[in-house]
Amino acid sequence: MKNAFPILTVVAVLLALWYIAVVPMNATWERDQAAMRGEEISFGQILTATMNQDRPVLPAPHQVLIGMYQQTLGCEAVGRRVCRATTPLNLENFLTRLNETRTSVRSLIYHGWVTLSATMLGFVIGTGAGILLAIGIVYNRAMDASVMPWAIVSQTIPIIALAPMIIVVLNSVGVSGMVPKAIIAAYLSFFPVVVGMVKGLRAPDAMQMDLMKTYSAGGGAVFAKLRLPTSMPYLFASLKVGIAAALVGTIVGELPVQQGGLGVRLLSGSYYGQTVQIWAALFAAAILAAGLVGIVAMIERRTLKRMGMAT
């Protein structure tokens, strides 16, 4: 980790900039309040007050952190009664709170799980369908000629614009909950996988194909022993793109019909001016995305290492 020091420095600078930005962003409100009370307010007072506003224009980093704690294990998520009953936070109380926060509608754990489950379902469907279509494209010239151009074009258009319509239409025919969001997540992760996997399955060069031929390998053997292994790096590259896209799709899919999820937290936060809630939901989504991409990257490293393809 020779880059650890530069990375940490950059992150620290970003945090410092954030803290500095908090003061001017929130100062107007403090000045207005002071003017209404007919008081003079000193710079020092502004400095401390802007860091701990109730509804800041820009919450300070520690406020976001506290907000995230409050909305996962803190009193805001588990309710005041449970909170008081479990107050010295030992292991037992921690488990009680964890159990409580799983189902609380004010909890990021609950909403994060709603988003995560739809994302995963959609991602699995989209990836599976994408791989199947890619195999079809590689082995059938008609499909390659007719479908592949559309798969490529689909990468350049904002197909996410379909999301609200899919949600509302499926909702009106009685399909609601996880499935409509998963459909959006599926088609957003579908196209990157198709394009990447086609590239991967075509990656073996003529020499390798010829070698398989000299072994008199059949179509199935060529696929299983040459094409599929060669396509793995391409597959994982598109899986990382696909899972990030699936998460965005799910979040956007949660906006029109509000039945839980991080998208709902974002939207309701913006309705009621709860900035800390928006930032907490945003960070939860970021953690989720980083975690999902990280897991895919880890599987990628392990797989490629075992296959002897790691660089």
Binding site: A142, A145, V147, W150, V168, V169, L266, A285
Partner: protein, 363 residues
């Protein structure tokens, strides 16, 4: 391509005609299809030499037979109708299969040959959509037919144009210009300091994978409902992908090339303008193309979080609420065309600017 799949082609050809005939003589379909499959299979093994010459006419004949059956049927009447539908589908498949066998020659003919399969596929899909939705009487609040959407595109041009100006010209373009411009300038700074490059690149890569779109409600709160907030979301979305690509591009020169510039006693600026920026162009354009797509997505989705009473995202979310789905589809069609045009613009410019790069050579 040496793998000719004659039996399969013939099977498709036979199936097309059978479907057409079956559609005409509805009532005997099943028997005919069974018979037809046997005949097609036998035919395939018999004459698998050059099926192209009679396969294509057969496919067209099948499509015509099927379409003939459908004329005059405002209301579908059972199995025959669906045989005709399948007949057209299989016929189109056959045509594409036959067209795909030719290796495209250079020039206009080759281009036409390359474009024909996706166009046939697209048209068939639209036709299938139109036919199936009409036949099954799917209400237009669930799925409108393409002709309705087309009519809406024509009749609501003024609204669509207003939305386009609001979302694309004001929101997307300004945000794209600011975001990409700032990222390129910042990349020059990052490039000068190895410490920044080592620290900022991983952070930038990490941030580029996050759902930046979630910042939309924050920017709507800061900059109001109108286009500045959408431009801000676009800036946030495009900045890091552009930064990462440009910084990578600026390192694309070899030590030998830089040494040569040094022997010319070229300064930092001269080296930058005459060597390193041109060498970075493939990476810069890659970033611009990625950002072109991201920018439009950002502008549209940001409007879901609040906007004035115009804009593509606004129109989509409100018309969905009013169940005016033809308008929604019209808006989506405009967004799709716009997205590929914006991307295509950068791809064309790339070809002009980086004509020297191996990836631009025609194979």
């Amino acid at each position: 391509m040496t793998e000719h799949r004659e039996p399969f082609t013939l099977f498709l050809a036979g199936l097309t005609v059978i479907m057409g005939i079956g559609a005409i003589l509805s009532g005997f379909e099943l028997a005919l299809v069974t018979l037809g499959l046997v005949v097609a299979g036998l035919g395939a093994s018999w004459a698998s030499k050059r099926p192209v010459y009679w396969g294509a006419p057969l496919g067209v004949a099948g499509i015509i037979l099927s379409l003939m059956r459908m004329i005059g049927y405002a209301n579908p009447d059972g199995a025959g109708f669906w045989f005709a539908v399948v007949g057209v589908w299989v016929g189109a498949w056959l045509l594409v299969t036959l067209l795909a066998r030719f290796d495209a020659p250079a020039g206009a003919l080759g281009l036409a040959l390359k474009l024909a399969p996706p166009v046939i596929f697209g048209v068939t899909l639209l036709w299938l959509w139109q036919t199936a939705v009409t036949a099954l009487q799917v209400p237009s609040v669930i799925l409108p037919v393409p002709t309705e959407i087309g009519a809406r595109l024509v009749s609501s041009t003024d609204v669509l144009l207003t939305d386009l100006v609001q979302t694309f010209v004001r929101g997307t373009l300004s945000g794209f210009a600011i975001g990409c411009g700032a990222a390129i300038l910042f990349a020059l700074v990052v490039d000068r300091y190895a410490f920044l490059r080592r620290g900022l690149l991983p952070v930038g890569n990490f941030l580029a994978a996050l759902p930046i779109i979630g910042t939309a409600p924050i920017f709507v709160m800061w900059f109001g409902f109108d286009w500045p907030s959408k431009a801000a979301v676009v800036v946030a979305m495009v900045f890091f992908p552009m930064l990462v690509n440009t910084v990578q591009g600026l390192t694309a020169t070899s030590a030998m090339q830089r040494d040569l510039m040094h022997t010319y006693s070229a300064g930092w600026w001269q080296t930058l303008v005459t060597l390193r920026l041109p060498a970075a162009m493939p990476f810069v354009f890659n970033g611009l193309k990625i950002c072109a797509t991201l920018a439009l997505i950002g502008a549209i989705v940001a409007e879901f979080f609040g906007s004035p009473t115009r804009g593509m995202g606004f129109r989509i979310s409100t018309e969905v609420g009013r169940l005016q789905l033809d308008m929604v589809w019209a808006e989506i069609a405009v967004a799709a065309l716009l997205g590929s045009a914006f991307y295509g613009f950068w791809a064309l410019l790339e070809r002009r600017v980086t004509f020297w790069h191996p990836s631009q050579r025609s194979s």
